[in-house]
Each structure stands twice: as C-alpha cells, then as structure tokens.
Amino acid sequence: MYVELHSASAFSFLEGASVPEELVDTCVAAEMPAMALLDRDGVYGSPRFHLAAKKAGVKAHIGAEITFLPLRHRDTENVSSFKFQVSRGRLETRNVKRETCCIPLLAESRAGYQNLCRLITRMKMRGPKDAPPEVIAACEDDLREYAAGLICLTGGDDGPLAAALAEGGIDAARREVERLVSIFGRENVYVELQRHFLREEEARNQAAVEIARELRLPIVASNSVRYARAWQREILDAFTAIRHHRTLGTAGRLLARNSERYVKTPREMAHLFADLPEAIAETGQLSSRLEFTLADLGYEFPRYPVPEDETMMSFLRKRTEEGARERYGRADRHLRQRARRQIERELALIEKLDLAGYFLIVWDIVRFCREQGILVQGRGSAANSAVCYSLGITAVDPIQMELLFERFLSEERGEWPDIDLDLPSGEQRERAIQYVYQRYGKLGAAMTANVITYRGRSAAREIGKVLGFDPEMLDRLAKLVGSWEYRDPDETLERQFRDGGFDLTHPRLRKFLELALAVQDLPRHLGQHSGGMVVCQGQLDSVVPLEPATMPGRVVVQWDKEDCADMGIIKVDLLGLGMMAVLEDSIAMIHRDYGEEADLAHLPADDPAVYAALQKADTVGMFQVESRAQMSCLPRLRPKCFYDIVVEVAIIRPGPIVGQMVNPYLKRRQGREPVTYPHPSLEPVLARTLGVPLFQEQLLRMAMIAAGFTGGEAEELRRAFGFKRSELRMRDIEVKLRAGMERNGIAPKAQQQIVNSITSFALYGFPESHAASFALLAYASAWLKCHYLAAFTAALLNNQPMGFYHPSTIVKDAQRHGLKFKPADVARSKRLCTLEDVSSFTFHVSRKETADGAQRETRNVKRDFAVRLGLRYVKGLREEAARALVRERERRPFASIDELARRVPELRKSELAALAEVGALNSVSSFEFQVSSENEPANLKLETRNVKHHRRDALWQVEKAARPPGPLLEEIAEADAASPLPAMSDEERLVADFRGTGLTLGPHPMAYRRREMDALGVRPARELPGLPNGKRVRAAGCVIARQRPGTARGFVFLSLEDETGIANAIITPDLFEKNRLLLVGEQFLLVEGVLQNLDNVVSVKAERVLPLAITGAATRSHDFH
C-alpha cells in the first residue's frame, strides 16, 4: 500500500498547480486510501482538501511545509545582518545557495495540528505580508516549542537533509537529521526518499538511506507532488516564472527538469522503489499513525464577558426582553403574544445550541455602532429571527412578515448561524472593524481571507507576460478576455480573438490560450475579505493560522469565508454598503441644513409619494430598484405595500429570471393567469407569492414537503445553491429530490416543475429575509428621494461610484425633478457636494376670501435647496489640493486667481487649469450684484449674477498665475484682467464640462439638437409612454447603459437619455451582430423601430440604429458586459 504523504496544491501560491479537489480526484483514481496535503507555510487549502476527501472516502492528512532557517546561519550570523545579505542576493538565483529550506511536517494529533497553526502564525506575524522567506522562517527554537504532535519528514531537494548534504556532505547531513531527531523525537522523524529520474536526487537518496540505517530511522517514499497530472507541469513552470518575475524564455534552470511530480499510482511508486520496498510499506504505516483530520478541529464558540452573577444566557435573555419591550411594546396584543412565543422558542434553541455568546458578540458590535452614531442593519437570514430583531441587529419584523426562523437557525441542520451587518462603506465600517479587534485581541479576532484566483483578465495578463508578450499586446489580450457577459453559441474563442485582431493559428497564441484557460480559478494570492470576521476566545491561532494583511493593523485567517463556514467557524460579516453611507449622509444633511430629523426606524409605512414613484419606475438612484431590468418590472408589478418591494427586490435576479418565474408571477398579479400550485401540498408555502416560488426559504420548504427532505438535506440543498463549485452536488440533489417526490406520489409533470424551480436557483436566489432587509433600504432611499431630493442627491453624488448610473445621469434625473444645481466654485464649494439654501427667494402667494369677505393674502415660504457641486468632481484635482484650497478659503476668501495660486501652493498648474475650465474660478475676483427681474413683483425674485469673468478669462489668468513671477515681483498682488479670449460656445462648454467633471449642469446635449431631432421625426423620451403599442417610432439619446445579460439570450438593452428622460431600446442578436461596432462604441444613437408599450413598460424594439454626432463631449455609459 502506498500513501502520498508529501503533496502540495495550488494553495502553495505559485508553487503548486492543482486545486485540492483535483489532487483528491487523482488520488481516488489511483486507488490510494489516503493522502496528505502539505502546502507552503499554511493550511490554506486544507478545508477544501478535507471536504473533497471526505466525500470521496479518502482520508485527508493535514500538514505543511515549513520554511526553516538551517543551523549554520543561526550559529554564525544574527538575523538582521542575514536579512541584508539575502536582500542583496535576492536577484541572484540558483547559483546563490538556498538560504532557507523547508521541512515537511504532518499533524499526527489535534495537539499537533494546533501546534502547527501556532507555529505558522508565529512565523507569519514576524514580518509584514509577503515578507521574504528568510524573515518569517522558523528557527530551531520555534520548532522545539511546537514540536509536540507533529511528524517530520526530511524533505526533498529543498529539505533540510538535501541542504546539509550539499553544504557539508554526509556528515553534515547526519548531524542535521540528528538535530531533527532531537527536536521531534526519534519516533517522529522519517527519512524521505523521492525519485523523479534525476541523477542528483539518486545520489542524495543513497546518502539518505545510509543515514537512516546508521541512525535506525524509518525510510519513507514520497513523490513530492506539485500537480495532479503530468501536463500540469507547464502551469507550474509558468507559475515559477511569474514568481521570479521572469519570462519562460529567461527563467532557465529555475524551471522544472521534467514532469514527474504528478500523483503517481501505488503501482508506479512500487515499481520506482522496487529496490526499497520498505519505503513504500512505511507510507501505509505512517498514514495509519496520523489520526488527525479537520473533522477534529476543536473550535470553541466565543464567550462574551458578562457580570459575575449572570450567565451568558441569562444576560442575553435580559437584553432580548428589553429590546422586545421596545419593539413590540406598542403593538397589538395578538402580535405581542406571537412575538413572545417566537422569542421564547428562539431563546430555547439558542440555549440548547449554546450560541448565546455569539448573539451577544453581534449585539455588542451593533450597540457600539449605535453609540457611535454609525448606521447599522443586519441583512441575510438573521432577519428571520425575532431575537435579532429585538436585539436591534435587524430592522425587519419577522413576526409581522411571517418569516421562516428555520432558515436562520435550526437544530437539526447542525450549522451555525450567520449574521451579516451592513455598515456605511468607508471610515465608519473601519471603526466597527477596529472595535472588534480591540475587543477580542489580535489572536482572538481576524478577517476571513479572500483567496484571489486567476480570472479572465489577470490570467491573460500574467500568462501573456511569462510568454514574453509586450505590454501593448498584453493590454489588447486582457481586454479581449473581459468581453461581454453573454456569449453567442457560435462565438468561439477563435472568433473572439479574431474580432480582437489576433490570429489563433500562431503557435504562441495557442499556448497562451491553453495556459490562460488552465490557470483559471487557481489561487494567486491571499487577500482579505471585505468584511467577514471570525471571532474566537483568544485562541483563534490554534484553529487556523493567522497572518498579517496588507492593511496595517489587520490580521487575516488562512481560510476564506466559505471554508470557515465549512469548518463550522462562526463569523460576522461587517459589510460596507454604499447606500448605507448615502442614507447616513442624507440624514446628517437633513439635520444640518433643513433643521429636521429623519429617523429611518420610524418612516411612515405607506408613503403615497414613494409608491407613486415606484409604480412609475421613477427610481434613478434608489437602492436595488434602479436598474433597467427593475425599471421595466416596476410598472407591471406596481408595488402597493412593503411586501411588494420585498418581492420586487428578489424577483429581478438571475435565479427567478432563468427559472422563468418572473412572468408567471406578474401575470398572476395582474389577474391574467390563475394562481395554481405544482402540488396542493405546496399551497401554504407558495400562497404569498401566488404559487410562484421566489425565495430560498420557499424552495427549502418545497423540498421538505414535496420530497420529504429533512432539515439537514434541505440545508445541503441550500448550500449547493450558493457557489459555483457545486454543480456536481446539484446533480446528486436532483436525483434525491426526484426519488423523494416519487415516494410522495407527485406527478412527473409537477416533479419537473418543482425541480426546475429549485435547480434554477443554483445561479442565485435571495432569501426572503435578506430581500426584506434590502427592501427596507430601498424604501428608505425612495422616501428620501421623494421628500429630501437635494440631500439625497448630494449624498448619492458624494458616495460615487455606486449603483447603476453614472453621476451625469443622476444629476439630469434630479434636474428633471426640479432640483437646482450650482457649479463647482472655488469661492463656495467644499470637497464634497453640499446644500445651499435658495428658499428665501421663492414665494407661493395665495389669496383666500375669509368668512367676512375680506381678502387675506398668505405667503408661504417654501424651503428649497440647491446642490453645490463639490470639488471632488473636478477631474485631476487631487484630494489634498482640494482640502488645502477649502482650508485656505475658510481663513479668508480669495480676491483673485493670482492670489489663489499664491496662497494655495498645493495647487498645480494643471489643477488650476482644470478648475478654470469647468468654471470653478469664474466667481473669483468678480463682483456680484443682484438684479431684480422686471416681470416679477419687486423684491420677490432676485438673481445673483457673477460678471466679469468667464471660463476663458480664468484660463487666461491661470496660465499667468501659474508662472512664478520671480522674487522681485512676488509680493505684488495683481488684479485679474479681462482676457482677449472669446467666451466658450455652448458646445465648448459641454465638452469642457464632461472633460472636467464627467457631467454637465447645463442643458442636456440633446437639448441643443432638439430642432434637428424634430426634423428627423425623433420623439423625446417623455412622449413615448403616451404613444400606442406597435407604433413605429424613432428615439435618440445619449447611451447611458448597455447591457447584454447572460439571461437574455443575446439581446442587448440600451438606455438612451435625452433632456426629457430615459428611453429604452431592445436590440436583437441579429441587429447587434450587424451593428456591433456602432452599438458598442457610439455615444449617441438614433434607434428606429416598433414601440412596445405594454403595462406601462415602454421600449423601442429596434430595427435600425444610426450613429448621431451630437457633441464632442466625452459622455460616459455604464456598460455591463
């Protein structure tokens, strides 16, 4: 029997070429009963290895190759001087002696595994992320401290034995092995033999056998596997070149000598070691010694410190009850009772599962955020829990919404709950994260990792580089790979390459393609997950190794979020959400500028303005309901209550779309189709959504009812939905599902229907609770937009980029809603967009006849705000310069451009020019006067006008101000003079606006051409809804979004904006094919076709598209491809 005890996966980051699952697959194919995974300085791949092996019935041994500093260096030099030497020598390659070697260690017991994790943590924490191996290398003392429970092999060509042998011959090698024996104990050291058909290796083997015999140590064979299959040596060679920043052509002897490090069968290994059968036999014996697997992780739930007279459970109970009183205190008796019962049920389960500590930890974070004024809201399945609602973790009332608690937590599933908190992106979220670190200590809390894998572009770029392509070609290739989301069936790679201008018959391009595809999804390096944190009571480093993240003060675990969940580690996600920041900023502005309070917790529940806007799909900027697809659904769904928004949020998802659930639901809602159920037993589950499954919870329940799944099986089903690597699992589940339904006597047709709806969710499906949390944010954003447009728009502009639309579209939309904007102005703008009170000049006069006949005049002053564009929108103006400018202005206003340039030396010439070009310098040094318009009653309408300067004047002045006048004239202030330059034309202003800020506050470019458009018979977007279905029309506008969704079978959706609104156009695949360049590249398009105006959803089904030359301004579109 042979067991491969020394293999590394691609989780050795560029030192291995196969993912753990592939290793397990080949291990199974080779009929090997067990395998050990030893990645470089980590156990990154171990959860995936463990799970794959568990499924395949293979025993997964865990270990690691530990970078080790051989004896001679420690004896002769101290670490710092050594570092210096190495850093100088790093450019040298093979010819410089290897300064470190690596020791393969295997975890024999749980204690051994814990020691391994601690050892790796200690090493990794020694230096910054990506510190060179010499800095983090373990020394003898480290090994002695953590040796217990670990088994040491003497390694291959980079092992300690080989290093000593090369350095000092067989005597040195013997001494080195003796040293290992003294560290790990005689019974825990195995002399390792490898055979890759290399002469030097065989020489080493002879020495190793001799030493083993002398010291009476067992010999053990291994193949030091680096990839599953022989051809993958090419990937490893490419990785080696990447690691050494070389090309394959210049990597020379850094590359492998042959392709022998694949997973060999026991028969092959036995043949190789025919002269040393004991080395093969020993692998089996050693394998049977290794008791530890990841099933025996020893993770303990975190504890929350509570007062002495309390247990965590009693403390949680009190906090929950306090919260419940507040949440349900004013509710009706019936609801109160239901809430009380549910809370009791949940608390009992929490107690039983011993999860009180976890809930308290999350509650504590939420409490911290509340105290600090940070907006926080739980999302995901936690919203199913009344305890979470009572604790203030979530904002959706699960009792009123009748949400399914079991989706969050159930006893039989044996899975820990998962609470995700949404926080405003940016600084606020960072504060919450730092709080957790501070509270649980460096070794008690860490971020989960995010394993960065090779994806289309990164793969193309790096593989192209090692093949020696020049930068220009790399750019082209990388662009090519990130093509449209949807791919025609006949859109082969050859064709894509041809379209991109490359000929795939060139052998090097072929090799490029082969390799770029082969490295897809292989790990590249470890990143940090955006918000996932794991907490453990001060002993996280014995569960999984920790390492420093790039961001100072951050520590990450070696497993990603999925792996942590797979290993049963509890985590809290602290996610940054742009919309949360928008809400927070809006509320602050409403408080500061309007002097009013907006409390998101107590928004009016059924605000008519909100529903009116939603029904009209007037939703630009609103959370989750602003996309083109959402906009085309809203008028058909016509939301009337909060639950409709929940449905709206969940329905426009790939899951329901692919599962073809959208149309049936909408038809049933409109009463055009009867409400039916696949099977009568499913009615209770599907009644709320008119017989159409839309939420994950419903699918779970369907599986449980129709196929008799247990909670655990349903859980397996749900997990399989979540991520890509589950296709095989999905198939297994389908078989099980059908068998279950067969047993329950469900007709084949209904079976198919149920299977379809469930499997289509494999792509993506929302849990109802999550949709409810998001719907709450959607409602809040809609409410703010309807009632505080200025504040909401300013906040939205300040948190870009986010959402579906470019800022220029947001501005135009707000203008159409009557919001006034003021341009960026160095005399007034701050870095961010701000509100300016313009209300004092607008009066509403109404006359009323009173009872006694006298006329009474009332004047209502309407509060009105304009948005002043912030300096952050001036392209090319650095943040520090903008801050310096505002700081200096607050001391004293600027009298001239010359003065501005002198007082804010941070401003570069290009920045001054950028400010001047967008008109931000127009008001400096000009005087203001007020004009009263003659048509208005005197003093009612006043306008403030800036005269003297136009943008070209400022540009003229800037060019002079930016040239230092020399020391003599330095102190003489100079007034700005008028310039000989002509003022900008409309077109020039448009170009300057888009170039300088990416948007224009003036008329829409289409507005200048309306007369021509009228002549062409082009209808403004606003008129389209009033035209009958089927009418031939022409629409035109600036392309603000192009979409070619994977779910739309090659159809392309364009959003065309003009000065009156947004028109939608649908492009068929044929038309797209004929006009590809036009549709992808043109900024302004004219579309001719048949108007589809059904259920208030309006779009033009294009039959012809034409380019329009409207302006030279660089308008932008968001392209989703």
Binding site: F197, L467, P507, R508, A913, P980, A992
Partner: protein, 560 residues
C-alpha cells in the same frame, strides 16, 4: 521667396509610388513584428473607410482597404526622389523633413517663369515621379511650409499676405508641443488667425518665448535663412578595370590603391572608419556560362566555392562584402589584409569588372590606456587573427562559448569574442561566481554530488561527443541491453537510469515558420541512461539517451 513641397500621408505615398495601381484606393500601412502588426498610417480614403491608427492587421483586414507593410527603404527612396525633384529646380534646398522640402526660388523667374508656374511645374514633376505633393510659395520658408501642410495642391501667398492667408489654418500645422497645444485648445485658439491676434506681451507672460515664436509663425513673420541640405559625407572610390581580373593578386593591387586613397581622404578630415564596403561588378557573361567550380583562386589555384549562394546578389547585381571593425581604424595595410582574407574565404564567382570601395566615416578612438593596466591585445591585431581563424573554421564557429541557462544538455551559443575593457588590478573573481567550464558549472554532469571528502564520492567527468553519435539500442523491460554505435558496440553490462529531462514546452515542435527571435530551438524531451559496456580495454562507461520526440538513440559521451 521660398517654395515648399510637402507630401501628405508620406508613409502611404512612399508605398503607392511603387504601386501606382493603389493611387485611387484606400491604403493603410502596417508596422511591427508578428503577432502584433498595427496600422501606422493610412490615406484619406482608408480613414474614411474606418481605419484608425493602432488597429491590428486582422482588424484592419476587415475593412475594404489595401494593406502594406511599412518599408523604410521605400521611404528613403521616396525622400530621395523628393530631394532630387527639388534640386532640379533650385540649387538651394532645405531637407526639412522626410515629407517636406523647402526651396529657395529667389531669382529663378527667368529660368522657370513666375512663382505660380514654378509651383505648378514642381507639383507636376513630383506627380510624374509618383508622389502627389502640395506645393506652396511664400515670402519665408516657414510660411511656405505651413501653407503646404495646410492647403491642398498649389498655393501662392503674395508677400505681406502671409498672416491673412495662413489665418484659417488649424494651430496644429505649427507642430506645437502637446502641452501648449492643450493650452491653446482650452483658450479656444484653434486657428492661426486667433493665435496671431493675441497680445504679444501677454503671450510671453503665459507661454514664454516659445509662445512668441509660435505667434510669429502664425503671422507668417518669421524670417530665417534656409538651411541648405549638404551633400552627405561620402567616402567612396571606384575603379573600372580595362580587363576583367580573374586572380586575387592583381585584384589586391587594385584594392590597395583604392584603400590608400580612401585612408588619405579620411585622414585629411581627421576621421577613421569602422566599416568597409566592397562592391565587385562581375562579368555577367562569365557567370552564366561558367560551371559552378570555375572560379578564381590565388595564383590560379582553384577554390571550391559556395560563395555564389552566400552572396547577397542576383546574377547582374554586384557582389557586396562588408568588413565590420570592432573600433575605428585607419590603416590601409590592415584593411587590405582583411579584404584579402575575406575574398579568399568567399571568392567572387566570375572575373571582376569594376571595384567600388566605400568607408563609413567615424571619429577615431583616443589611444591612451591606463598606466597600470595590463596590456590587452592590440584590437587591430586581434581582429586580424580572428578574421584568419574565421577563414579557416567558418564564421559561426569562432568566438567565446557561452553556456545557456537551461536544462537542455550541452546548450551553448557562440558570442563574438571581445575582451572586456581592462578592469584594474583587483582580483576579478570572488568565490561563488560562476565560471564557464568551472567545476561548479559542470556539477550537473557529475555522477555523484560533490563532497568535501573525495574518498567517499568520486567525481567523474563526461567527455561529450559533438555531435552525439547515433546509436541502435536494444531495449528489454524498458532498459537498454545492447548498443551499437560505430565502434561502441556490445552487451550492456550494467545500467542506471532513466534520467528524464524535458523543457521549453512552450516552443512549437515545428521548425518552420520560426517566429520567435529569442528561440534557440524547439521543445525537447529525452531519457538518459548511464551504461557500462565491456570493450577490448575493459569496461567503458557511456551516457546514452533517447530523444522522445523521434525515439532515436544517441551516445552523448563517455565518462572518464
């Protein structure tokens, strides 16, 4: 008065000149090496068809345009034609740019008529020579240049009207630096009239002297003398022979005379040369009817020759040889020796009718060496020695062997032997440096790992057969049991292996077409064995290998 002749889309025009059929067509010119070949230039028709600079060849091929590869030779020829055309009209000609030539036409009325006629003639002449050019006449060279660049066909600007006529041209005809162009664009200054109208002092305050210069150019007010093109410094001597020379010795006599002339001319200008070019016009009739081996040799001695094939010539083109020197020299006797060696190695294929010898003029090198530096071989002597050796063994087989950084066994390349500049007296090598042929380098060829204890592991050296000997090997159970390769034959007494090597998998196995310029071969894979074969003088150890691509066996060497 000055006239300017300007060829729009010069890169395209240079191509079209030789292919008149392309005149009316959309043409784009490509540049670059495969697999990236991009559009460098195109004519107006091609631009209208949608071609843009930077497109790849494949992309451009999708449009109805003719694609041609850029050719520096054609461009140089087109430029020369342009220059010729101008020089036919005026003795004072400025070679302004590849596509622009300025002529001084003052006082030429009596010869060619009024400026308008001269300009028409100039344009017609260029057209006859295959180049469609714009011609402009103005009072000063720059005004003429800008008018020719900006206006199509023929333009005559009467003196004093420059500002008025140039006013409508866009600013970029001035070839302004990008940052100034950006500023002018921001100012809304788009044509020369607007630029000319700006106040002078203000311009200087903002754009400095360069701004003022541009403004003067815009007004057509820059007076500057023409910089007439100087005939290039050419050192060439030619001798036509009354009787065709068949033997090398009389030819050497001729060469000697020419060389003396050349060296004297170079010396008079304090120049030396680092490249000699010898052109021999051969008796074409003799080539055609002479059998391949009828060639001349020293003292009538016949030399079997492959020169006809190796020379860069067609039957009626002269034979050309280059002598490149490592550094500038001026020694006619040395040159003669080098030429003789060269001709002996590559004798002409027929009697010589005409000899042309030219030298590339360069600055001579300073002769002072360091006082305490060891003497290196005199470069001229070294060059002579190397040339002699190359004559014997062939050019590809001389130089310094450089071992390549690859696992491919015995991979090396020949580098030109050039002793490095003296470094001073410091010992050059430190331990750890790799030396070609040192034991460190040969490590992989050792049977055993090196050990400080020689008694324990003996080291063996491999004596390579270059090239390896083809062998016939009988294999049993995957191991060689019998070998036959020339004198090496017999049962294999003992064997160790296989030692498996493969690499450079990213290179194609096909040998043609070879695109990769850095390639030193294609991919390779082989299994090596070390075998012991009993022979007449005891047991001999060999390294044999099987090339896995061809399955052929070879003996690579023997162990000492």
């Amino acid at each position: 008065m000055n006239a300017t002749i300007y060829v729009p889309d010069f890169l395209v025009a240079a191509v079209v000149r030789l292919e008149p059929a392309l005149r009316e067509k959309a043409v784009a010119v490509l540049e670059g090496e495969p697999p990236v070949v991009t559009v460098a230039a195109m004519n107006e028709a091609a631009a209208e068809a949608g071609i843009e600079p930077g497109m790849t060849k494949l992309q451009a091929a999708a449009y109805p345009v003719e694609l041609r590869q850029r050719s520096p030779a054609q461009e140089a020829a087109a430029h020369a034609v342009l220059l010729d055309c101008a020089q036919a009209f005026s003795p004072r000609v400025e070679d302004t740019a590849a596509d622009t030539i300025v002529l001084d036409i003052a006082g030429l009325e009596r010869l060619f008529g009024p400026p308008a006629k001269l300009a028409q003639d100039l344009a017609r002449r260029a057209s006859e020579l295959g180049l469609e050019a714009n011609v402009a006449v103005a009072a000063n060279p720059d005004a003429a240049i800008h008018a020719a660049r900006g206006f199509a066909s023929v333009t005559i600007i009467p003196p004093g009207k420059q500002a008025e006529r140039l006013g409508s041209l866009p600013v970029d005809v001035l070839q302004v630096a990008p940052e100034i162009l950006q500023t002018l664009d921001r100012w809304g200054v788009r044509n020369l009239r607007a630029l000319a109208a700006l106040p002078e002092v203000a311009i200087v305050e903002r754009l400095g002297q360069e701004g003022l210069r541009l403004q003067k150019l815009a007004r057509g007010a820059v007076e500057r003398p023409l910089v007439p093109a100087e005939p290039p410094l050419e050192f060439e001597e030619t001798m036509e022979l009354e009787h065709a020379v068949e033997l090398l010795e009389p030819l050497a006599f001729v060469l000697g005379r020419l060389l003396e002339q050349l060296c004297a001319r170079l010396g008079a200008r304090a120049l030396a040369t680092n490249e000699l070019r010898l052109m021999l016009d051969l008796d074409a009739a003799q080539i055609e009817d002479s059998p391949r081996d009828r060639v001349i040799g020293r003292s009538g001695h016949r030399v079997i020759d492959s020169a006809v094939n190796s020379m860069t010539r067609s039957p009626d083109a002269p034979m050309t040889r280059f002598i490149r020197l490592p550094l500038p020299m001026l020694d006619s006797r040395l040159f003669l020796k080098l030429l003789q060696l060269e001709l002996r190695a590559h004798p002409p294929a027929a009697p010589v009718m005409k000899v042309t010898l030219s030298a590339e003029p360069v600055q001579p090198r300073p002769g002072q060496g360091g006082l305490f530096l060891p003497a290196t071989p005199a470069p001229d002597r070294l060059e002579l020695t190397l040339a002699r050796l190359a004559g014997i063994v062939g050019k590809q087989k001389i130089g310094a062997a450089e071992v390549l950084d690859t696992h491919r066994p015995d991979a090396f390349q020949m580098k030109r032997f050039a002793p490095s500049a003296p470094q001073g007296l410091k010992p050059r090598r430190e331990s750890g440096d790799r030396e070609i042929g040192s034991s460190e380098h040969l490590k992989t060829d050792h049977l055993m790992t090196r050990s400080p204890d020689p008694a324990m592991y003996s080291t063996m050296a491999l004596r390579r057969f270059r090239p390896p000997l083809a062998a016939t090997v009988e294999v049993r159970d995957g191991e060689p049991v019998r070998i036959a390769a020339g004198e090496i034959r017999g049962e294999v007494a003992s064997v160790s292996g296989p030692w498996r090597n493969s690499g450079e998998w990213w290179k194609s196995t096909e040998t043609t077409p070879r695109i990769d310029t850095d390639d030193h071969g294609s991919n390779w894979a082989r299994d090596e064995w070390d075998i012991a074969v009993p022979g007449t003088q005891g047991i001999a150890l060999y390294r044999i290998y099987r090339d896995l691509a061809s399955s052929a066996w070879f003996v690579e060497g023997t162990y000492d």
